[in-house]
Amino acid sequence: MTPGWGRALLRAVVVIVSAVLLQVTLMADLGLLGVRPELLLLVVGATALVAGPAKGCVIGFWAGLAYDLFLQTPFGMVALVYTVVGYLAGQTRQVVVDHHGSVRAGLVAGTTVVGVVLHAGVALLLDETAISAWEIIRFAVVAGFVNGALARPAVRVVGWAVRDEERGVPR
């Protein structure tokens, strides 16, 4: 364990709890073209982008688990989906050389699209929703667009939360 891990843990908890509370309160009534923004996928995507697959899947797991508390779907379903999404996004980050703003935005948007599709796919598989393919595409595109636009501030916030004390903000 590195020195200052307790503070790093606290910062990560603050970011996850804030994101979950905003998602279940503000975002519940804040639709864009009838689609609720996916704030937690923004956090997971940004974490994977900033800190890689290991932290991406851990933050994905805890963010999903916190979200599961407020959903009617089986407990652990979103945690599983976001874990996979965080890991995949982190792996993608490792093969992408260019980390400029637009590339980051594209990666976060792509992570969101994959996350929404995967979430809907698992929910359909478990018979927890009856959403059509067209609706899934609509949700994924709109949520991806919103998260892509919010990628820059999200990367800064998440960078603060998951940085290693001795190394500073990861790039």
Binding site: L30, G31, A54, F61, P74, F75, D127, I131
Partner: protein, 281 residues
């Protein structure tokens, strides 16, 4: 050399998530208790955040919903014009209204104790068809109680905390209700299931041709062990698709695609009524 740590962490977290999911599917008691305990703890915080961001939410919805309201207004005007042009439809609508007004005064729905609640938020996820209300177990609400508006059935109580409840709406794919034809108290019963947010409900299974006609009103059956009181208006048949007849048979014998539009408008719920009614054990 690439580190194996990310893969190890990934496998451990996936295994943990799958274990939690399995425990939930098996109805593991302690986990459910922890889950509802955490919900109760986080509720006041979520309420506070909700209250703080009310102005933002209102401003946003004012900007984005303006177009929807104009569209809805135009569509209603067009509907009124259609009804005025067609006396047969108008007559049918009046007949239905009379039937339903009669039904509304009946038995359980009229005599049951009720709690009126304000809708505090919509679904928290794009995949859910739920609403949250500002009344909970402190007000006598229990899981699976029926929720209605003056137009008819809208859902059931899915989750209760002391001061809040989550209502699963009737168009949710996890929702099913036994119904009968409003005009024929002795008619057979059918199971009506949700098909997802914003879509009409569907009668489960095949039914004989001629059982349903477009416009036929359906009410809750109130059969034994049903979760819902009898005679609550649910919706009207809006589409009947005949099953293709077997080879050699000229006419269809059954229909398998009966779609039902709800009487209640789930898109604009402000206040709802929870019936403090539970089926007899």
């Amino acid at each position: 050399m690439r580190s194996n740590r990310p893969r190890f962490v990934f496998l451990v977290t996936v295994a943990t998530a799958v274990s939690l999911l399995t425990l939930d599917f098996r109805g593991f008691g302690p986990m459910r208790s922890v889950q509802s305990g955490l919900r109760v703890v986080t509720e006041p915080v979520a309420d506070g955040v909700y209250w703080v961001f009310s102005p933002v939410r209102n401003a946003w919805n004012g900007v984005w919903d303006h177009g929807d309201l104009a569209e809805e207004n135009a569509s209603l005007r067009q509907r009124i014009a259609e009804l005025e042009e067609n006396p047969a439809i108008e007559r049918r609508a009046s007949e239905q209204l009379e039937i339903l007004q009669g039904q509304l005064g009946l038995e359980a729905a009229a005599t049951t104790e009720r709690v009126i609640a304000r809708v505090v938020s919509g679904p928290v996820s794009n995949l859910e068809s739920t609403i949250r209300i500002d009344r909970g177990s402190n007000h006598g609400i229990r899981r699976n109680m029926t929720v209605v508006t003056e137009q008819g059935l809208i859902g059931r109580v899915a989750e209760v905390t002391p001061t809040r409840s989550v209502i699963e709406l009737v168009d949710s794919s996890r929702f099913g209700v036994t119904v009968r034809l409003a005009e024929e108290p002795a008619s057979p019963t059918f199971v009506l299931v949700g098909q997802g947010r914003g879509r009409p409900l569907r009668v489960q299974g095949e039914v004989p041709v001629g059982t349903f006609v477009n416009g036929a009103a359906l009410v809750t059956s109130g059969i034994e062990a049903s979760l819902y009181p009898p005679d609550l208006p649910v919706g009207a048949v809006v589409g009947v698709t005949e099953t293709p007849p077997p080879v050699g048979v000229v006419a269809a014998q059954t229909v398998d695609g009966v779609e039902v539009a709800l009487f209640a408008d789930l898109a604009s719920l402000s206040y709802v009524t929870v019936l403090l009614w539970e089926p007899e054990p």
